[in-house]
């Protein structure tokens, strides 16, 4: 019957389309998982920082990050080439977010600034085959990743105080607060902000944890300021440096 075979031709096309879409999605999911796992390793590497090994530790972290970019992000980029990025977003967003988290974490530790989306995206341009449209990370994934980095910054701040680097901790505190103040205005504008709203709550808790740690150091230091005959609290007693 003609109708029947026309229908069969039509659905044969659709079957091919669905099969290849699924296969692509699977490949993207796998590439995204690799990015996640290796980005996490970079983050742990940064946390190995201490007062004295800063440059060395960060150098290694940065190299590791470059490796993630070249080995795993490039794979993701390759799998995605020629696809609508928004269509498969749910398949790769976890990896991309973790990558953003690792990259912005490294940058903050290095320079105290926020790594911009445009910088990341231009570094991705290099990975793409020139002939096809390159992967560009969208604002939403960037913001979701940036929201996560505040949790790592909180951990970092607590560690810095332990190392006696009070000012470093205060810089982190300031940075997280600034991020929060910027984001709070932007969140309702985001496409599907349920996930982000949860992250904002976590971020606020992180900020409060840092503030409480700074407060604690401050009052403890202030108690003896007069005793030590100086106007500024002396935090040199903090940290374990003096008995090592």
């Amino acid at each position: 019957m003609t109708t029947n075979s026309t229908m069969r031709d039509e659905f044969a096309k659709h079957a091919d389309y669905l099969n290849s879409l699924n296969e692509k999605r699977e490949k993207v999911v796998k590439a995204s998982r690799d990015v996640t796992m290796n980005s996490k390793k970079v983050i742990f590497q940064v946390h190995r920082i201490s007062k004295y090994n800063k440059d060395e530790v960060l150098l290694k972290a940065e190299n590791d990050l470059v490796a993630v970019t070249n080995q795993f992000m490039s794979k993701l980029v390759k799998e995605l080439q020629g696809t609508d990025f928004w269509k498969l977003r749910r398949a790769y967003t976890p990896g991309v977010q973790e990558y953003i988290e690792a990259a912005t974490f490294c940058r903050f530790c290095k320079t105290g600034t926020l790594l911009n989306l445009s910088e990341i995206n231009s570094s991705l341009l290099a990975l793409s085959d020139k002939s096809i449209e390159p992967l560009q990370i969208n604002v939403l994934d960037y913001l979701l990743g940036v929201a996560d980095v505040t949790g790592e910054l909180m951990r970092l701040a607590i560690g810095r105080i332990s190392d006696g680097e009070i000012e470093y901790a205060q810089k982190i505190c300031q940075f997280v607060r600034d991020l929060y103040r910027e984001l709070i205005v932007i969140v309702p504008l985001m496409d599907d902000n349920a996930e982000m709203k949860k992250k904002m709550e976590v971020m606020l808790q992180s900020a409060i944890k840092i503030e409480n740690a700074c407060f604690s150091v401050h009052v403890r230091g202030s108690e003896y300021t007069p005793l030590l005959g100086t106007d500024n609290p002396d935090f040199s007693f903090f940290g374990v440096s003096d008995f090592e």
């Binding site: 026309t6 600034t113 205005v185 496409d191």
Partner: protein, 231 residues
């Protein structure tokens, strides 16, 4: 930091604006769909088909105009079709089910993907008809048939079940060529089996009573008007 976020704010406000525009068009699509659906529903009440079809085609023109507007809006956001896709997905599935049903009423054949795009004025630009939406729409269309044959038989049209059964069986066979994930579309497709079953039952009811023609002799006596002559 501030500068970047300033820029993000602008970008997000812009895409928020796009969304707002889409929302407004989609609301209109939804209203038009309701009109179209309401109009098509009268086939269940055995009103003269030609009038129904004419009116329905009028509504489709409206919907087409709205899809053209949507496509226009999206033109300013190249590559972001799937970013906003969720905003009109459900309405598109509905409209596909309606125009495919209408098409069957008119021709007795399946509305192909390319034809559906054409009917909605899509496909030339970036803005196309997503295949999964098209397929879901076909499943929704299938859900209308059991009710349709019941009411046709009640109205005395004993030939309708056979035609519908042939069509649905072919459609079901074609669908089985697809490898679906465990998702929305598969659930909808699962429902098609039950539609098929129900139509078979009605066919059985008329057949066993000797009411059904055997399909060879077209144009047998029927008293309820012009609906039967079409498909």
């Amino acid at each position: 930091m501030e500068k970047q976020f300033e820029e993000f704010k602008l970008q997000l406000e812009e895409s928020g604006g796009v969304r707002e525009k889409i929302r407004s068009v989609v609301t209109e699509i939804e209203a038009s769909n309701r009109m179209l659906s309401s109009c098509l529903l009268s086939v269940h009440q055995s009103l003269p088909l030609s009038g129904v079809l004419e009116k329905a085609n009028g509504h489709i023109e409206t919907v087409k105009g709205l899809y053209v507007q949507l496509a226009e809006i999206l033109k300013d956001c190249p590559g972001e079709f799937y970013r906003y896709h969720g905003d009109w997905r459900s309405e598109t599935q509905t409209v596909v089910s309606l125009i495919a049903f209408l098409h069957w009423l008119e021709t007795g054949a399946l509305l192909m993907h390319a034809e559906a795009e054409k009917k909605l004025g899509l496909g030339s630009s970036d803005f196309g008809l997503d295949i999964e939406d098209y397929l879901t729409g076909l499943c929704f269309m299938s859900n209308e048939f059991p009710r349709y044959v019941v009411n046709r038989v009640t109205a005395g049209d004993y030939d309708c079940p056979r035609k519908v059964l042939t069509f649905l069986t072919d459609l079901h066979t074609a669908f089985r060529m697809l490898n679906l994930r465990n998702d929305f579309l598969r659930k909808k497709f699962d429902g098609m089996k039950y539609d098929l079953r129900r139509v078979e039952e009605v066919y059985y009811d008329v057949k066993i009573r000797g009411l059904a023609s055997d399909g060879s002799a077209q144009g047998q006596a029927n008293a309820t008007g012009d609906q039967l002559t079409l498909p």
